[in-house]
Amino acid sequence: MNSRYRIAPVMLAAAFISSPAAAQSATSLDTLIATDPTTVIAPSLDFPHDKDAQSTYWKYFIFHKDGVDFRTAVADVSECESYSKINDMFVRVPELVPYGTASTNPASAQQDRRYQVKSTQFGVAGLLLGGLVSSYTLGPVLRRLYNTNQRNCMGFKGYKPYGVTEQIAKAIEGGTIQQRILIKAKIASNPIPALEESQP
């Protein structure tokens, strides 16, 4: 495993921490990365590029990066999903973030030291925590915040967004988080789609 992958398990674990249906350990990323991409069924990206479709490209999009391989794309998508959990437009600042120097205790040092701080510290916003499994189910504001973090994170990694329809977005995001990551990674690493780049 190269250094690129070493970062993401932590992030992936963090991503799953408030998604009980998909609660995972850091090893889940290894499992996802080991997935044979030919077994991942991605929805067709063929659709009429009419005005209706174009009007929602800002909202529904996929990412693609020239030359990226599936394994790297899985790690990248996983990391960005972990950042993209948004609870509220105005989430409160916590007093504690459990981040620090790794423990000298061998048993503890094996654990991820960087837990997510939790909900009640965030007031009402925290109440939404448990329900955030699929970005597709988010309300309009949270959906935009989710998109913002996706654009930023994937953008920093060199991916470009391409507009798709709501139906395609639903097909990508409607399953479990693992399925979503695999499908997004497959699309991101497949030949460049004949789509219009999504201008936010």
């Binding site: 799953f16 921490i17 009980p20 950042y83 993209s84 105005f90 459990p98 913002t148 994170c153 936010p200």
Partner: protein
Amino acid sequence: MRILLAIITALLLSPATARAQQFREGDTVPVSPDRGYVLMRLPERSYNVLLMRYLTPEQLDKFDAARRAAFEAAKPKADADRAKIIADNAKGGTKKVPDELTLDTFVFRYDMMANVLIIKAKYPFATDTTGKSHLFGLPPGTYAIIGMSFTGGGEHMNSCACMGSVKFEVKPGRITDMGLVLTGTVGAPVEYPELANYTGKTIVHPPQPVPGAIGLRPYDPAMPRPTTLPALPIEVADYRAQGRIPNFFYSMITRMAPVKGVLDYKLDKIIDVKSGEEVP
């Protein structure tokens, strides 16, 4: 009276008050040899800046132990509640069965320590023609700039510098000069060229939320220092690149703009310029 004393004691011992203090204009700064002092400059208009102190291994172990204990205390009731729903559903009930509570999914609040410090832009220690200087006292340790916030009915996140920032050491009995921390708001004129590519360009219809921008100019001798600083040795912050941190805040994310001689990026890889190495 006893109740009042108890409240005062609780406040004095609470994590928020025990860990950091921001001094305001005209304040007398109580100098303590076991505290560090930090001087930060902010532009006239600025978000509040968030600092995080690295927890020590002992503190993390304490946090782990408390979290595990709380989980073990909560687990029996969660299991019983879940079992009851399953049993009720077997008799025709239709309640959603919660997933089994695990340590990974356990929601934990811990009030016994704090390591996030909010530098409030509206409370300068000194103001001059170049901007505002902020002074605060805090426990020594390693600190990272982790994001921006704003005040309004509480303190709210703007964004987390989750994908790259800087860290520095704060030593006891000294003032660490952080230089000028830059923040920029989306849509505002770009006053600082460092932030040009980080202020967002996504003001469109429909409007999209975009994180503010954050950058840094390490101290240089042209930056004035308040004349009212306490008589302590002053050290310039020795910045190093801070690697990724999880989105602890569930907020928008960004990264600090590159800082000459300190922080750079190759796509999303964070480069510590002083060592030339990538930091995870």
